[in-house]
């Protein structure tokens, strides 16, 4: 094993990294013996289970997978995956992951974080990892609350959240993680739900295939401190017939190439207001209903979609908001190294001697 990882990276580019000559990895290969210690009913169990099922399917060997986390309930996840892992310090996971990823293009690097970890104490690192387009898959477990520290409101909590540190209701306006990521120039931004295993798997698979930074907000509740009821699409009662913003509806699902329509009978759609150019809720049969295209280079459209929740919808849509191709920082970093030494490494002694040395004779 060369510490540079270059040879391996190059050799494995043609086939799934690290799997040559070995049987395909299984769920068991990615599972540690550690007892999983999350509250019963927590969505983290579902995400872990999805990851264990997903990673073998990606064809990356466990030893070539690195999972880096910060601090919080979600950040315990690396202990339960039998890969290389770092359970780091609060908010800083993207920094450690960046140091791993840009030096070792042969590795698949995942970041596991929560809304407090990523959006509050680690906000700076999140936006910079996204702006640089570091090849990290960042799973943001968003339960809108600080769980590990016993229930304080988070930067994702709605205004008025009553918590031990906001007994009279929080006053802070929350972050919209999707809008934040898009603002930071993220090349892959998606939102999914812990209770929908299929959607979760599909979204994480798409993220894994993306070359560059991927931010996946996973919407959760916290069964202990912030119980958000499960709301499968279309489960609502009569109220959903008349109110496109009814929480009973569940989030809109975005599918590439399909018009964005929703409601029990697809009676509503997202249309572009011809006067303002903004996205608004209109009639599902309107010919102007927007056809979802996450590949749009300009992120204005994705941004407008992410903001709809605050004005016209019960919550933000789920699916891939943006997925565009742009060279990753890792790739540029490695190319810079490769082009700097076409003839191999520089010779140390000549560096040390420099061009302005002199000799003192003995």
């Amino acid at each position: 094993m060369s510490p540079t990882g270059e040879a391996e990276g190059a050799a494995r580019a043609e086939e799934p990294a690290g799997t040559a000559g070995r049987r395909a990895p299984t769920v068991a290969d990615f599972t540690t013996a550690n007892e999983v210690r999350w509250c019963p009913g927590c969505g983290d169990h579902a995400i872990l289970s999805t990851m264990r099922g997903l990673l073998p399917a990606l064809g990356v060997a466990p030893e070539n997978t690195v999972v880096v986390s910060g601090i919080g309930c979600s950040s315990r996840l690396p202990y339960y995956l039998d890969t290389y892992g770092i359970h780091s310090i609060h908010g800083r996971a993207p920094t450690f992951a960046t140091g791993v990823s840009i030096n070792r293009p042969d590795l698949s690097v995942w970041v596991v974080t929560g809304d407090g970890d990523a959006l509050s104490i680690g906000g700076n690192h999140l936006i910079h990892a996204l702006r640089r387009n570091v090849n990290l898959k960042i799973l943001l477990f968003n339960n809108h609350i600080y769980g590990l520290t016993k229930g304080q409101f988070s930067p994702a909590s709605k205004v008025g959240t009553v918590s031990p540190s906001s007994p009279h209701g929080s006053l802070d306006y929350p972050f919209n993680p999707i809008a934040l990521a898009l603002g930071a120039g993220a090349t892959f931004v998606a939102r999914t739900i812990d209770t929908d295993r299929r959607h979760l798997t599909a979204t994480l698979t798409a993220a894994a295939a993306h070359k560059g930074a991927a931010l996946i907000e996973i919407r959760q509740g916290c069964p202990t401190f912030n119980n958000i009821p499960r709301q499968p699409r279309g489960s609502g009662g009569a109220t959903t017939e008349n109110d496109p913003a009814s929480p009973e509806l569940g989030p809109i699902r975005l599918s590439p190439g399909l018009p964005i329509v929703f409601g029990p009978n697809d009676q509503w759609g997202i249309v572009r207001d011809p006067n303002t150019g903004e996205l608004v809720v209109g009639n599902g049969g309107d010919p102007r209903v927007v056809v979802h295209d996450p590949g749009t280079q300009n992120s204005t459209y994705a941004y407008a979609l992410s903001r709809l929740a605050e004005t016209a919808l019960g919550e933000a849509p789920i699916g891939v908001y943006r997925s565009v191709s742009q060279p990753s920082f890792d790739q540029l970093f490695q190319e810079r190294l490769a082009t700097a030494r076409p003839g191999g490494r520089g010779e140390l002694r000549s560096l040390l001697t420099g061009s302005d040395s002199w000799v003192v004779a003995g």
């Binding site: 510490p3 391996e8 039998d82 290389y84 140091g99 690192h125 002199w358 003192v360």
Partner: protein, 683 residues
């Protein structure tokens, strides 16, 4: 440059053993470049050189004001020197503010070369002169050469199509040419340098070279200068030498360490004065597989470096005091993860933003103790610019051998100062490195091979390091306490106690060479009564002060600590051999306190935090007084620190406060003696 130093040679060239020259001008006048080039020229002809750049924190402070003065002092000699010199013999002042800011430090009878161009009413006013010093007789005790350098330089470059302002800016090269002539230095190296530096701007290139030559020719052809001086080459040990700055020395030491370890070097850094230059140097070395990453902040910088180490790089981060404060949580993580990591702190004046461009040694306690929890790590310090190289190698050696973060302390004086450095042959470099784990190192209860990331080497207590990509050794580590051997999360009380003691034992057991004492009078116990001990950049001034004191016929021993944690095993026994141990520091006694804690030996402190290195004369005087105190009277409290024969002086703060309260006029004494020295207790 005492003129009585050596006889004039028949050819009119006066030989000097050493000379201290200070170039001073406005921040925009290019004084740092000028001084740097003069130093390189002197080094190239074989002089020993020590330099002291000094510049304001603002990139362009208001022009023409004293606040905006930037200077560069050089000490060049025909013998071994270790400091930039106390007082300049020659002052080059490019404007009235530069004169005003520096004249008080010039040796009486010294040489002043000044640019008369800005000695206008406005220029004098900006500098705060009410009367023109050129006409009021205040410079009569110096050898004054008042020359319109700007005007002459502008005229010399008139043919090079420069704007008037740009033409005037060549005055620094004109001055350099003139001073080079005065000190018999060839200017061809500088001309070559200018060719490279301004390769993309042919007009600027030609003009600067023309100004440089014109300055030289001015000296040669005018009769204003009666004497030419010459400093002969110093007798350095044989070898290849180059002029080395501290920041560059550390950068090169890190590159050499990575080379010796067979690992790529990965730097995570965030710009901060005075450490940024290490980032700049390493960023140039991509072709040596040096990977430098400018992070979004200090925390991200060390996070990335730890991630790099985890992935098999030699991880390094470089910063200064405020950055160290931000990194401390991550350093704790590296301690508990037991990851190799080199953390360079180029110290500056603190606390907070403090004095960003000035030097201080006040981060020692932060380095030793500045983390929460029991978080021991090795701390070492560079003692001079050239020593940056060796100390960086040593930091990397310890980090790799013991799987631990190591703090390397430098400071602004070392960072920006320079001196000749003997380039080592590659086979002289130490063997350092790490043998990465590739196989399981144990079996579980049912006989399956397993990897225990916290099983330890019995000799060093270092844990095995397996990097991602190694099959079968995948493991997870982090900030939570680890179970001994397995590294699994453990909240067990006994295990936590065991792990804390184990981590401490590992650091305590780092192999550190014994402390050596320099005392021509004999080994500890049979030579001098007084030992002067220091750490970091005070090595040069302490060493020269000791030599001066010995030249006066007194006995004094010197020792210098490279390893601050763990300390050399023989430290206590060495210290106990001396009647008095004097500890000069550019802080309020941090090493002194550390020594007392670790050896139960009290010392005499001599402390200053003026942002500048100790002056040799100042230290020599303190050492002399301490020695005389020991000889005259066995109670050094009274003698240690006296100034002007006073019993208690060099500014014991308590005494000063008491005196102030009592209305006693202690102010006079304490202002003359601008340093604090405290005798904690007699022995």
């Amino acid at each position: 440059m005492p003129t009585d130093q050596l006889p004039e040679r028949p050819d009119g060239v006066r030989r000097l053993e050493n000379v201290v020259i200070r170039f001073a001008g406005d921040s925009g006048d290019g004084m740092q470049l000028t001084g740097d080039r003069f130093g390189a020229q002197a080094a190239a002809i074989g002089n020993d050189v020590a330099t002291l750049p000094n510049y304001p924190a603002e990139i362009r402070a208001p022009s023409g004001t004293v606040a905006g003065v930037s200077s560069y002092q050089l000490h060049i000699a025909d013998h071994d020197i270790t400091t930039p010199g106390d007082q300049p013999d020659v002052l080059i002042a490019m404007n009235p503010a530069a004169l005003r800011a520096n004249i008080t430090e010039l040796r009486p009878g010294g040489v002043i070369i000044l640019d008369t161009d800005s000695f206008t009413e406005l220029g004098l006013d900006k500098a705060g002169y009410e009367v023109d010093p050129l006409t009021d007789g205040s410079l009569d005790s110096y050898q004054l050469f008042a020359i319109n350098l700007t005007g002459l330089a502008s005229a010399a470059v008139a043919d090079h199509n420069l704007k008037r302002k740009d033409a005037a800016r060549t005055k620094n090269m004109y001055a350099l040419g003139l001073v080079s002539w005065m000190f018999s230095q060839p200017i061809e190296d500088t001309a070559d340098y200018l060719r490279k530096r301004f390769a993309s701007k042919p007009d600027v290139q030609a003009a600067n070279i023309a100004a440089l030559r014109a300055g030289w020719i001015y000296g040669e052809t005018t009769e204003a200068f009666a004497t030419v001086y010459e400093v002969k080459p110093a007798a350095l040990p044989p070898g290849t030498y180059r002029h080395m700055k501290g920041n560059k020395g550390i950068a090169y030491g890190l590159v050499a360490a990575a080379h010796q370890a067979g690992m790529p070097l990965f730097l995570g850094a965030y710009p901060i004065t005075p450490a940024s230059e290490v980032l700049h140097e390493l960023s140039l070395l991509t072709s040596y597989d040096v990977r430098s990453f400018q992070a979004e902040d200090e925390i991200a910088a060390i996070g990335a470096a730890i991630g790099g180490s985890f992935a098999g790089m030699l991880g390094v981060t470089v910063t200064s005091g405020p950055g160290m404060a931000l990194k401390s949580e991550a350093i704790g993580l590296a301690v508990i993860m037991e990851m190799p990591l080199v953390i360079v702190n180029v110290q500056r004046g603190g606390p907070s933003t403090g004095l960003p461009t000035k030097t201080e040694q006040s981060d020692l306690l932060q380095a030793l103790y500045g983390r929460h929890g029991e978080a021991p790590l090795p701390v070492i310090a560079a003692r001079s610019p050239a020593d940056g190289f060796a100390s960086a190698l040593e930091a990397a050696r310890i980090a790799l051998a013991y799987r631990t973060p190591v703090i390397l302390l430098s400071d602004s004086y070392i960072a920006n100062g320079s001196e000749p450095w003997r380039v080592p042959e590659l086979d002289e470099l130490p063997d350092i490195g790490i043998e990465l784990a590739t196989e399981p190192n144990a079996v579980d209860e049912v006989g399956n091979p397993v990897f225990l990331p916290y099983a330890r080497d019995p000799a060093t207590l270092a844990r095995p390091l397996a990097i991602p990509g190694t099959p079968g050794l995948a493991h997870r580590i982090g900030g939570l306490e680890k179970q001994d051997l397995t590294g699994a999360v453990s909240y067990d009380a006994d295990n936590h106690d065991l792990m804390i003691r184990t981590r401490q034992s590992k650091i305590d057991g780092v192999d550190v060479p014994p402390l050596e004492v320099d005392d021509p009078a004999g080994p500890p116990g049979s030579g001098a009564d007084v030992l002067v001990i220091g750490w970091g950049s005070t090595w040069g001034p302490i060493g020269e002060a000791c030599r001066q004191v010995r030249a006066d016929g007194l006995k004094v021993a010197q020792a210098h600590l490279r390893h601050l944690a763990p300390l050399p095993a023989n430290l206590a026994s060495v210290l106990s051999e001396y009647h008095t141990v004097l500890v000069p520091e550019m802080n309020l006694g941090q090493l002194a306190g550390h020594l007392r804690r670790e050896t139960l030996i009290d010392t005499v402190g001599y402390n200053q935090t003026r942002g500048m290195p100790f002056q040799v004369s100042e230290l020599a005087s303190v050492i002399t007084r301490v020695i005389q105190g020991v000889v005259d009277d066995d109670t050094p409290e009274q003698a240690a620190v006296g100034g002007n024969g006073a019993a208690k002086v060099v500014g014991d703060v308590t005494a000063r406060l008491t005196a102030a309260k009592a209305g006693v006029g202690a102010g006079g004494k304490t202002t003359v003696t601008h340093s604090d020295a405290t005798r904690e207790a007699g022995r």
